[in-house]
Symmetry: C2
Subunit: 343 residues, 2 copies
């Protein structure tokens, strides 16, 4: 079947009896060459299985079919899930997606953007690190490469932003918790890596005040992305010291809540809204595993599909209009309350 190795398009063209530019045309669009020629190429193709070097191709194209996707931390299942969705949609739309994770480090985010620039992508979907981002570098990048920000906004940077409305997240959870029991205290990291956290804390305070209630914020120590551990440690301390001002805890995000639930379980505190339960715990994000916690976690979920959809739609529109939008668009999706047993 496969005979000898083909090094490049020149060789392949010679072997298939067609000129190189025609072969090039074929790989750009097989329908664009006459069918007798196509047959010759395809005959050679399954005899020698040659494939053009995509980076050499892209180097010279007017517009590549590359799309870059950058997320701040791929080991976080929420981002893993979003990235997988985005990648799938880009591929379906005929693009070649390249995924980068900043792994929580500014240097890696910068490096990712640098490699992306070399790729000459048609467009980029970027979820910045946030607090840790090098704003200038990102702004310069966005000035060169058509970019849609998602998840976390950097005001004025990029052609569009798509994300979830953190205000809506917290309004829903707070409203629900107040309506069905004691008002919640808010459980979060003192120095969150995630800037969305700050928006959520503010929204919590606003929501409580809107109900004529005093905000109660519990801030726990810890750095980095080991959120479950941080949540666990903080919860253990709070529970041991009986420092909770109420029986209802609203965590800034699900990963903290997973740690909180583990601590509650260890302390023998039953979590849930039924009688005999000592605590109610709710959170935000609808982490892929939140449905499988014990008890299943009541949370306010991202509309992943909507954000992904709108993100890629915005990107495709951006690409079609030549990379620049008349004015920056910002799309915020309201969140969806997911009632489970924990609150």
């Amino acid at each position: 079947m496969k005979e000898r190795k083909i090094r490049n398009m020149e060789e392949f063209a010679a072997i298939s009896g067609v000129s190189r530019p025609t072969v090039s045309k074929y790989f750009n669009d097989p329908e664009s060459v006459r069918k007798t020629v196509r047959a010759r190429i395809e005959a050679a193709l399954d005899k020698y299985d040659y494939r053009p070097n995509i980076f050499a191709m892209d180097q010279n194209r007017r517009r590549t079919k590359n799309v870059g996707i950058v997320v701040p931390y791929l080991a976080d299942p929420v981002f893993a899930e979003i990235a997988r969705n985005l990648e799938r949609r880009c591929i379906e739309a005929g693009f070649r997606a390249t995924l980068f994770s900043s792994h929580g480090e500014q240097a890696l985010e910068v490096e990712a953007l640098d490699r992306l620039r070399s790729l000459r992508p048609a467009g980029v979907l970027l979820a910045p690190l946030g607090r840790l981002s090098d704003r200038d570098t990102i702004a310069r990048f966005c000035a060169e490469v058509p970019t849609v920000l998602f998840d976390r906004d950097i005001p004025g940077v990029g052609e569009a932003f798509v994300g979830s409305d953190n205000m809506s997240f917290v309004l829903q959870s707070v409203e629900y918790l107040i309506r069905t029991g004691e008002p919640p205290c808010f459980f979060e990291m003192k120095n969150p890596s995630n800037p969305n956290s700050i928006a959520r804390r503010r929204s919590y305070a606003a929501a409580m005040e809107g109900h004529g209630l005093e905000p109660m914020v519990i801030q726990v120590d810890g750095e980095g992305w080991g959120l479950e551990q941080i949540g666990y440690d903080g919860a253990m301390r709070a529970l041991e010291q009986r420092a909770l001002p109420t029986d209802t805890v609203l965590c800034s995000n699900d990963r903290l809540a997973i740690g909180f639930l583990a601590a509650s379980y260890e302390m023998g505190l039953r979590v849930g809204r039924g009688s005999g339960c000592a605590l109610r715990v709710a959170a935000h994000d609808d982490h892929p595993l939140s449905r499988f916690t014990c008890p299943p976690l009541t949370t306010v979920g991202h509309e992943y599909d909507l954000v992904s959809n709108q993100g890629v739609e915005a990107l495709f529109e951006l690409i079609e209009t030549g990379g620049r939008l008349e004015r920056r668009t910002e799309t915020l999706f309201p969140a969806r309350l997911v009632l489970r047993e924990s609150a």
Copy 2:
């Protein structure tokens, strides 16, 4: 600060008053040029912040500093964690790591290898899909590109394999469970995507027989990578029908166990090894969240660090010896029993 844009090395060389080959040399190793020249280049560098196009660079190098990493499913936290480790180590060793996820699809695995080939990597770390892999394509790829397989072996393919010893996993868990209580039944998917599962089932049977016991295997339906859901559904059915032959359940992997624990909790069955517990549940992999399940999951863990270490070491050695090893090496690490409260 940043004045006008530099398009290529030629322009940058002109502007910095140095010849292009010297600039090229500088970017390959800043120490390789005289310090007066280096100063000129660096002066221009922070004035115009030019960076060479990495793909153009790699196109022509003898040996690139690229390393490819391919994992079967990045939304699985276990692989996300491994990938992050590998990436970090490669970067520390001065390589540029590029990460691909096959997302559980053969077509994407093939595509990843194709793009990798175009990258001309010095070496590749590949965790194949397994059952779903296109063996021929992978074999052909490995014949061209120095490759170390990890996690899942494809016998005879690639220059080396590094992974965990599934036999050791299961031997440890079975031995422990038998020693401390009832012998375990084995809970797994009927048609696992993951070929390691098959090795684990066999090891379970062998271990039980080694103790003079009859293997008890529970196979649940379900396809794909939503393992927690599959574990949950299967556990619900088994628990409702009281189909468990013993009070001790050994799950093929932690993700199934997470679903199992959720089902147990919902059924009001207390899991653990203490009195008053109805079930013991253990599993394999030491998933990042297993420490935070309720109760925390007793599991047999990968030595992530050892596998990562050995994987990159094998790769670096492979790269240094010019891409081929005299004979294929296979490294299996024994697993580490992680005792928690679930069993």
